[in-house]
Symmetry: D2
Subunit: 425 residues, 4 copies
């Protein structure tokens, strides 16, 4: 039996296959010599399953798609304060080859433009690394996102260095503002090496899935960076990832994304999926023509838009009843699903509206598969108030979804694995 | 028993209460005469429950907070094509009082700046409305978002008209480009009337909750605008709502938001909650000082960031087993929670990996509370393939979460309300 | 006998006659209906002689050519300080239809763009004029520059008012910054009336000659504005007159100039000539195509470039000798031409280098036709020193070129009309 | 007897001496260590006389004042077409440290900003020079302007190289656009060497006088560059020389000028004088505070504003009479002064208005000291017409001011050295 998802991807490629518009990046011979017909798409699920169709195992250089990942590494290695002091988070509304430095300070507007990406490269690793060590750390970091050791296309790398005048201009300008501390040429060398890392669409899908799964690599299980770093990276991709078409992309596709001049394009939908496409012909913005078309299909067909969140809150209370009577009565609130603020609020309300008079209350989490931090705090607070009123409180939690320290603040609660029954029955 | 959420809000207000920085909008006497100490915050849940603390019933003028709602009305009344032809969706990276028209076409960059908002006002209702009728339609639309009839502060309105030179300048400029078709003064009159609508923080929270609940008003139950309109509005709020601090807001707060010069500030977290704050002193960007501080608290405390989506996908398959043996065997896949693409993919995979040989398969949706469109299509496709192989397929759906037309394409499926048992047992 | 200059102009028109490129201004029907074949050129000398060829008596609207003249009127009526506080003098580097206000203050960058011209219009006359009186003062002022009463093309005027949205936008914006104090619509009414004044190429040449002759109208002899006002106006025309092609014009043509959308173009070469051309087809900058070509010819053929000043200083000392001997000896310094700083310096040097020992010195101005202020001061200083040393000083000045008050500071000088002869001869 | 001009300069220095505002350039130690009290001013006349007061023989680095001279050298060596293709002439309206490249082409806006000056440096000499040869040619050219061999401050030069990141950024950017053909670092090396040339205020005054005298060095008599090159350089200095204060300077001072970061400032008034000042403290625009104040004095006191041209045209016809009667009558037109277009036009008119019937006409140039090209052409045309009518024409030209080829086109004219007398007398 063939995979539904693979079939879908194959069909989606079919819809864009005939589009021959756009043109190859031509500034170095290696990119100009790419096969323009290449076309591939891959979905990586957060458990490591990868679906692919077309040329998903063809290697090409990562180019600008490295930017969000190296920004993540810089944030992880140096902390938010140091990185934000040197690279902003504002959309530039400008083409990918603009300099876009903040007037006065010279701070690059965001890490998705070259100036910001070169700066982010220089901020990976500790201060005492030399340029070669820093570049090795960058490539090791990209490999951690991909879940396998990545290597550099030396031919692209040396060709890019011979055409690096714009990046050298940017680096010298950053050096003149004190944004870069190191030798501009050495930083550009490292940055170009970073951009020359070879990946496949399959690799990129895994890298995107690592973003989608909050920093956990779905293949290796490694935590590459923290959740807060990922949140920052996804936010910046959402507003600055697609160059001067940021608003169009945000409304029509709605998936935090990043493209590369070799034809790659990734998108990460938080909690769901990492997506990568590969097709080398580029539009005027420098984005892959067929890659953009594929993402528009994916977003439209699959509701994969960050502003299309389902009404998860509605049904968190599965049932609510009183078991038994009098001194034996137990009020049971049976919850279900994943519970965040809005869900927890509902549960709080059920309990408040009920003004329970029963001597015992059971909060049944058996059908709950996740409780986020705020939900844990809110349930703990309910429990605390109920115990404060002298009631007995059971938390029925057979799968230990409520392991948090918050629970310890809830007073003398009974955590049990099955629902207690009223002895009155 | 007091509400946990109300207590939280009260505590949050306490943290910002002492902040006296910023200053009142001073361009008209009415705003300059506002009580600078006012402070309130409200959360509206998607079922209509409203939590409030502080001055949540004090009336003030809606001002720019009307912009996303009137943009929504224009999209609903005229369609995406006509509206997008006249108002863009790109961040302006500029202060709120810039004109920010696209060079050449004169199209306002986005509907959150005045030029775009004035244009959006002019696009509400059908073409044949006169200015007064259009303004009435706008106010009726805002009232529909609020779930109660809203009225205009006539004193603010006439004072604003006397100080409307910048808006008149913008409107004449738009008229000169053919972006506005109507008399510029009449449009500005209507726009100022729109901005002078009186609301409370409670109203604004309900309005924001209507955005959060995809266009359904939680009080009236009315569908005010369609889901696709809301998705567009939330996307634009996310990238353009907070003026020139868009990137900071997107990373640090991560809630689609809009502020008004009278001190209001709203945020809508899709599927969760509508939030409103009220505090009249403004920062240099024109946003409420204490409002911004409150949103930072809310986002940090409650995980209410659009890029903080929980890993909902993990647990959609609750159990998977074969009941009975031989010709009587039924393979049962018991699902749970809200199922979207990533969840549906898991289910598809369970079935594929199993390469089921049993003559019957039961897809048990009993514990599922929502199936989005793509998930329905994927389950239908699985069912179609299984029936195509000659197997019997049961869809166990006691709460009718799978009502869609997709199911009819799944072949001869048995939709049942309880799980069939193998007779072999 | 035909005029050499007229022949030259006729020949110059011949060189551009076949050029049909460019197009008529089309924003109002009256301009779109102009005869595109019209072609004329006129030179007005500073004594009122006018040479013309082609359509020099065809009336058309003055449009933006009114700007430098109305700026002059504002400077004359309100003084430099008040006008400079509201209109800058910096080139905008932008197209003629940009707003170009200084960030923060809203001050228009210069008086040659519409924002600055509208502001200049509002500054003509005293503060207490009403809008109609101000407009009459503006038209009377333009008439004074032209040396005849000018009238308004009412048809163009009312048509422009119906298409004045851009100017209304600008005026409202200026009003919002407090740059305009009056009702924006009334100011725009007046400004459009100013632009609708009917002129011929002949009129424009006289107006330009008034600029070239430092404010004296060559026909009426009236001093329309002061020399210092003219210097300011010419300086601003030189840097801001030709919109975004300012640098090209300054280098290639080098004549302070201003164009109008009806096809007029004027240039003023200080001390020499006022030039006007008329040809309605415009280039992309909004300047008359054939007008620009004619000015390029004039500048090239006639050395009429402000940076092509002849070496006038060389020959100011015509002869220098001692007449007679002993106690009767007179040192004679015979000067010639127009004397400015560099010439006066030479004369000073002749006298210093000579270390005269003769008891008398004659400064012979018989062949001098002008002495500017600094030259007068320097000659007076020489005379003062010579008389201070006890010498007798004659100033031979039959045509009274040295009437200044400076002379009175020169000590006991004999001003005579013929050169005294040594009695020793 | 002391010089009037020297006294004036001493007095002028006295007026600004107490001004201690502004600060030294601090980006390299050598500039930061300059003596802030230095103050000097020099005037160089076009015959080589130099007046000086204060520190006019103190050496300092030329810095940006080299820009107009090196631009002149590039124009002379490569021609206008090649240079204009790579460097524009438009004011940038920006601070001196902006990049200001034309969008798309990357062409620097003008040669007075660093990007344009670096490009101009690269265009000096023939294409086949290597970098060291080119730099030697640049320094030789600056020496030719100064009239003495100039040398480089090696200490400043190497210190500037260590802080050249901004210029390296610019050069790499120019290289990426193909504006520079050579190695960016080598060009910047040469450019910094150019800026490190040592000059005194006296040198700078001579260099400015070379500009004022149309390319002739007043000390050496050498023609350094052609008149057309000088006209271009002066025009560009007038519009782009004083950075972002171009309009203020053009209106208030009106002298084509250029400043340097070491405290030098030059101005060239065509046909009159070269001016230089030296005072190291700089204002926010990077111009010498006291230098600017001195130029404002000079312009105000001495009428040295390019738009203050005296009415030279008025008196070109000194006398006009008929000598003798009948067949012997000679019409005599006695001219005087320097004659340009406007003067020649007057003479033409005298002859035309007279409709001469006399058999002979004498054009008496005895008192004329210059006739420019157009004046020669016009007088030749008059003579041609008179001879064409069968009249005898004398050109009385004892000092050969009319040597031109134009005269040969005037028909059978008698060029004589004294005025012929009518035999009829």
């Amino acid at each position: 039996m063939l995979s539904v998802v693979t079939d879908y991807l194959t069909e989606a490629l079919g819809h864009v296959e005939e589009d021959r518009s756009g043109s190859l990046a031509g500034y170095i011979p290696e990119l100009a010599a790419a096969d323009p017909h290449c076309l591939g798409a891959a979905f990586a699920m957060v458990d490591g399953t990868v679906y692919g169709a077309g040329d998903v195992d063809t290697a090409f250089t990562i180019q600008s798609i490295s930017k969000p990942f190296v920004y993540a590494l810089a944030l992880a290695d140096r902390g938010f304060e140091e990185v934000l002091a040197k690279v902003g988070v504002e959309p530039s509304g400008e083409a990918f080859n603009q300099i876009s430095l903040e007037p006065g300070s010279g701070r690059p507007l965001n890490p998705m433009i070259n100036a910001g990406a070169i700066t982010a490269h220089s901020l990976v690793g500790s201060h005492d690394l030399d340029a070669a060590e820093r570049t090795r750390r960058v490539i090791a970091g990209l490999s951690a996102f991909a879940g396998r050791p990545l290597s550099v296309d030396e031919s692209v790398c040396s060709s890019e260095m011979a055409h690096a005048h714009r990046n050298l201009a940017i680096a010298h300008m950053l050096r003149s503002y004190g944004i870069l501390d190191d030798d501009p040429r050495a930083v550009v060398d490292g940055y170009i090496r970073q951009c020359s890392v070879l990946v496949t669409a399959r690799d990129l899908a895994i890298m995107a899935a690592t973003l989608a799964d909050h920093g956990l690599n779905p293949l290796s299980g490694e935590r590459v960076v923290s959740e807060s770093v990922i949140r920052q990276v996804l936010s910046v991709m959402a507003t600055c990832g697609m160059y001067d078409a940021a608003g169009d992309w945000a409304t029509q596709v709605g998936i935090p994304a990043k493209s590369g001049v070799a034809g790659g394009l990734i998108g990460a939908l938080p909690g769901q999926v990492g997506i990568a496409t590969f097709s080398p012909r580029l539009d005027a913005h420098g984005n892959s023509v067929r890659g953009v078309a594929l993402f528009e299909q994916f977003s439209g067909d699959m509701g994969l838009h960050v502003m299309s969140v389902p009404p998860a809150a509605r049904a968190v209370v599965r049932s609510h009843y009183v078991d038994g009577t009098g001194a034996d009565a137990i009020r049971v609130v049976q919850m279900q699903g994943g519970i965040r603020f809005a869900g927890a609020e509902k549960i709080v309300r059920e309990v408040i509206d009920a003004s329970p008079t029963e001597p015992a209350v059971a909060l049944d989490l058996t059908l709950v598969f996740s409780l986020d931090d705020v939900a844990q705090r809110m349930l703990a607070e309910i429990a605390r108030r109920l115990t404060g009123e002298g009631r007995r409180v059971y938390v029925v939690d057979p799968e230990a979804v409520f392991p948090s320290t918050w629970l310890t603040q809830a007073g003398p609660v009974d955590v049990v694995t099955t629902l207690p029954r009223s002895t009155a029955q």
